[in-house]
């Protein structure tokens, strides 16, 4: 498929997200797109007097959302190595963020109801930075999230308050 952004693949492999996360990724853009498109669909169908627009447009929007969500799910990877945590996202717009373990300020694990029922969790890594002050790894396996939190959190204890 796509060649990786970082060609020198190190010893640690990039981890994909669990298959259980797929539904959440798909739902995230699908639902908003569906509901947002309801209003223009209604207006257009009244204006043009074509009732078929009313179901067609939202369904199209939902399909688009599902496609985007699937792509996002497939192109999200994370990796923990000796340097710290790295997250790679996107295919058209490829973005890779790296938070060195020494720069982690604190960590959050968030679990919504859907995530709880599927054993998933979202990890938020906070740094003191400005633009990337909260780096998010969405819909991780809950066990992985906790292991990541423990590994990255241990580093904070190591460096004393200077």
């Amino acid at each position: 498929m796509t060649e990786p952004l970082n060609a020198h693949a190190d010893t640690v492999a990039w981890q994909p997200l669990p298959t259980r996360a797929r539904l959440l990724f798909v739902l995230a853009p699908t639902l908003p797109l569906f509901f947002v498109s309801l209003f223009p669909a209604f207006t257009l169908s009244r204006l043009l007097d074509v009732w078929a627009i009313l179901p067609a447009l939202p369904l199209l929007a939902a399909a688009l959302g599902a496609w985007i969500g699937t792509k996002q799910y497939r192109h999200t990877w994370w990796r923990l190595d000796d340097d710290g945590l790295a997250i790679r996202r996107g295919r058209l717009w490829q973005r890779e963020t790296r938070v060195p373990a020494t720069r982690v300020q604190h960590l959050d694990i968030k679990r919504g109801p859907l995530q709880r029922s599927r054993g998933l969790a979202t990890l938020v890594v906070h740094t003191a930075g400005t633009r990337h002050s909260a780096v998010t790894v969405p819909n991780l396996d809950a066990g992985d999230a906790e292991r990541l939190r423990d590994r990255l959190g241990r580093q904070i204890d190591h460096d004393d308050d200077a």
Binding site: L5, N6, A7, H8, D82, D83, G84, A86, L92, W93, Q94, R95, E96, T97, R98, V99, P100, A101, T102, R103, T127, A128, G129, T130, R131, H132, S133, V135, D159, D160, D161, A162
Partner: protein
Amino acid sequence: MTTPESTPATTDSVAADHRLHPMSWLFVLLQQLKQFILPLIVLLFFGRGDRNELWPLIGVGVLVVLSLWQYFTYRYGVAGDHLVIRSGLLERSLRVIPFARIHNVALQQSVLHRVFGVAEVRLESAGGRKPEAEMRVLKLDDALALESLVRRRGAAVVESADAEPDARTLLSLPLGEVLRVGLVSNRGMIVVGAAAAAVSQYSPRAMPNLFGEVSGRMFGYAGSHGFGMVEYGASALALVVLVVGALRLFSVLLALLQYYGFRLSEHGRRLTVERGLLGRWRTSASRRRIQAWTLHEGVLHRLLRRRSLDVDTAVAEDGRQQRALRELAPIATPAACDALIEHLLPRAGWSRLQWRALSTSAAWRMFLPSVPWVLVVAAALSWRFGAWGWLALAWLPWAAFKAQRRARRAGYALSDELIAVREGWWSRHWRFAELDKLQALHLTRSPIDRRCGTATLWLDTSGAGAMTPPLRIRFLPEAEAVGLYDSLSRTLAQRPLRW
């Protein structure tokens, strides 16, 4: 680092024996009233007789009581290497702030403060929305004593150097330089904008009416005399000159108010900036709290052969820039700026940096995104105005020229201590940060990047303002970007965060 004896349990017994200035209630009251005072005056003078308008005065009375209350309940004192602040009578709070955690000390004096010989003190630590402590107001001597205490104790904790070093002036702006600050800045626009906003808040019709009247008179006058083309052109030009001149005058006046008597001085490892004509600001922060640097040179700067040097410090930011230490040199000659950087970052070797320019193909990469836009605009214009619309295509050579200039100017430099980026052609800036201050790395590739084989590397530091240019290296060849990204992340992982 902190001794267990000076924990809150013991500090509680330590007398927090200092008080605010006896007149402090007045300033608290004024601060509270600021938002009410104008409507109140308007009501008093323009109200229609029935005395209902005086109800707000009851609110003022309540505010007086509250401010007095605050004065009587607020105490502060020093216990070991902590500052202790007690406030509240019913709901008591005791706050303990270690001196070493205080990033920034800001003293502010308005004209009224100076009349009473008092100052407002704010102690700020990194992050968060609100300052750690806000003392409104202290006697100026007390405020300065507190500031020097923070400076001394903070330094003592960090590097156990007790002897207070002498102050050394690094930069001071004589009157001529302050006028130059006004000339290069666009502060006049801010004044006009604020005035317009304020006027239209009180009467939504005021601004349109004013405009309508002025332009009506002008065009009426011009219309009744029937001037020729040349006269119209000349008067339009005169009008533009007048407006631009007025804006510059505003910004010069504002610069005088804000930067008169600007002095950057150094006490050991702390930097202090003093400035202001009527109101005085005095801000001080430790040198190592500086997170990133911006050196800027606009067109007017170049005409006057000057630059400006700003820094980011990671303090609580509430949008009021005057509080934090931001401007090391509002204006200075390039040599003076370089000397300042060299002095404050002695190990970084600013003047010996090996700058690496972008490859020549980067110009194409910069030029490409503007092509579709120009085509769309030209097509739209030609559809509307006929063949003349295609003149918009003339923008393309200009865009290519601009891209080429910008590509030639852009570059980055990396040393053991520092990473620096330079960008811009018309208005130029250099942005740099110590490696120890970098927080996170981010590598992006857009679809165009993938076609051109380039990538952009973003380096995040704390305390970067919304208006400061980002610290990023754009249009790097992909292999170089990835190499830099990997080596930087390894470096950061090995170096502890110091901020």
